[in-house]
């Protein structure tokens, strides 16, 4: 499949050191277009809609902000929001997003050292944008990877 120039350019910016130090692809050896295509299939398999999941993540972020930087219980989940200095551009060049990190895990795992992407979702404003606008969940091994199965488990019940 021939890539559109905009996609080719965006995929180059996903490499480590271009926009962020670790990049967006983790240790995933699949090309980004394959990651997107396979995650779209996974979303369909779990009955998830990209826009609805992005809305739910935004709502969780807003709930987490009430914890003022400390973890806060939101229903069955424990949510914590953290902020960093500055902004990150989308690799596709369609927006700048505040640097932050929201972590979401099941409340009963509060005392457990969770692993990003396995039993804890970690996302930022940029992750929500990438999901909503580009159907891009990031590569496996990226700490900000939004694994469809984990999304279904933690966020599935919150979709409108």
């Amino acid at each position: 499949m021939k890539l559109k120039p905009a996609d080719k350019n965006a995929f180059e910016k996903m490499a480590p050191g271009a926009i962020t130090g670790p990049g967006f692809l983790g240790n995933d050896i699949r090309p980004p277009e394959e990651i997107i295509a396979e995650d779209e299939q996974e979303f369909a398999r779990f009955g998830l809609d990209f826009g609805a999941v992005a809305d739910a993540l935004e709502a969780l972020r807003a709930s987490g902000e009430r914890g003022l930087g400390e973890p806060i219980t939101v229903g069955a989940l424990l949510v914590q929001t953290g902020d960093a200095r500055g902004m990150l551009p989308c690799p596709w060049g369609d927006g700048l997003h505040h640097k932050n990190a929201v972590s979401v895990r099941l409340k009963e795992l509060a005392e457990v050292a969770c692993v990003e992407g396995e039993d804890m979702l970690v996302f930022s404003d940029l992750s929500i944008h990438l999901l909503r606008e580009h159907h891009f969940c990031q590569g496996r091994g990226s700490p900000f990877r939004l694994e469809p199965e984990l999304l279904a488990k933690l966020v599935g019940g919150r979709l409108n």
Binding site: P16, G17, I19, T20, G21, P22, G23, G26, N27, E65, R66, G67, L68, G69, E70, P71, I72, T73, T81, G82, D83, A84, R85, G86, M87, L88, P89, L96, H98, K99, A101, S103, E111, A113, E116, M120, V122, S124, G141, P143, F144
Partner: protein, 371 residues
């Protein structure tokens, strides 16, 4: 020659020649030679041209704060460029107010030194230094906050309680480039041979992951500092300090400095510290011991979601709710009140709202925002 090999070999040969040609042209066309960078009309540096201003200044021992390693994603390295270096780049404008754009404030990481430049920098940056240090101790304060004590090697640091340093994180694991991140110092200014930092693990965070998973006792570490405007104001007004998590750092420095030196003797000090449950709380004994022997220091710890097994008898609720209750009923505003805040933008904004609601002037609320 085998025709199957001829094609690839020809392509490889042409590619090599083109790469060499590009490299030679780059050296010829982008050779700006030695140039002058004049700072504040007083100090002139003769530098090699062609590189971003941020790195050029750092090579000369002038460290402009930067949290992203020059990628243009933190907006911290602002400086005024008096020479015309062209319009602001799209990578700069998101971090600039209209006023800053009109005054030609630029991001030092985005401006390349291609001609002689005149720039303006805050004078205090001239005293900023890079320090070599060794990790003297590193210990867990909670499951996600570490206390890191760095012993400086052959140098002493001068700073005001409340200021921060930039920790230089070397390449590690999948992270191929060095980055710097800002952390408030929790050590006392009188201890010039050490820098103590409190660092909370941020999921996905480059620097905090390095500290929590890679850094160990005895390891060599570089820090750059001291930076920042957050400090104790010399007035008789009571200090209302609010923090959570690693926001403890500048207050630990301020409190022990004031207690040790007797500075600002008229100030009453109220310190509100919030955590979710007892496992997120730290320095509880130290702060209680300090308040027991220092009558003008009042420590109020609060848990937002205490567990039954915590047996917590202290304040409960979000720290903003506790702050509100105390400002209404317990804090004496007779000599005036000053707010001192350290934390996330959300926490700071929420505290400012509570303080304003209780009659505190916004111009008397000082903060160190993690953003």
């Amino acid at each position: 020659m085998n025709p199957i090999l001829t094609g690839p070999l020809a392509v490889a040969g042409i590619s090599t020649i083109l790469a060499l040609l590009i490299s030679i042209l780059d050296k010829l066309l982008n050779n700006y030679g030695q140039l002058d960078v004049t700072i504040n009309g007083k100090k002139t540096l003769n530098v090699r041209g062609g590189s971003p201003l941020l790195g050029t200044l750092a090579a000369e021992g002038i460290f402009v704060p930067s949290a992203c390693g020059g990628r243009g994603s933190c907006g911290a390295c602002k400086c005024k460029v008096l020479t015309d270096v062209g319009p602001h780049l799209p990578t700069e404008t998101p971090y600039m107010s209209p006023d800053e754009i009109s005054r030609n404030v630029r991001l030092a990481c985005q401006v390349k030194v291609r001609k002689n430049l005149e720039i303006e920098l805050p004078e205090e940056l001239f005293s900023v230094k890079k320090f070599s240090s060794r990790v003297e101790s590193i210990r867990d304060l909670t499951y996600d906050i570490k206390e890191v004590l760095l012993a400086l090697e052959g140098q002493e640091i001068e700073f005001q309680a409340g200021q921060y340093v930039q920790l230089v994180v070397p390449p590690y694991g999948e992270v191929a480039e060095s980055v710097q991140r800002a952390y408030s110092m929790s050590s006392r200014p009188s201890d010039k041979k050490h820098v103590e930092l409190l660092i909370r693990l941020v999921p996905g965070g480059i620097a905090t992951t390095w500290v929590h998973k890679y850094l160990s006792q005895g390891q060599q570490v570089e820090v750059v500092g001291a930076f920042g405007e957050f400090h104790i104001h010399d007035t008789p007004a009571a200090m209302i300090c609010v923090a959570g998590g690693s926001g403890m750092a500048p207050f630990k420095s301020m409190l022990y400095h004031m207690n040790e030196t007797g500075a600002f003797p008229e100030k009453e000090i109220w310190y509100f510290f919030g955590a979710r449950s007892l496992r997120d709380m730290f320095y509880l004994d130290e702060m209680r011991e300090l308040s027991a022997r220092w009558p003008r220091f009042h420590f109020v710890a609060a848990l937002s979601e205490p567990k039954p097994e915590d047996n917590w008898t202290g304040e409960t609720g979000l720290i903003t709710d506790v702050l509100d209750r105390y400002l209404q009923s317990k804090v004496d505003a007779g000599k005036g009140l000053e707010g001192y805040l350290c934390g996330s933008p959300g926490m700071i904004n929420a505290c400012i709202n509570v303080m304003k609601k209780n009659g505190m002037g916004e111009d008397k609320i000082y903060f160190d925002k993690f953003a």
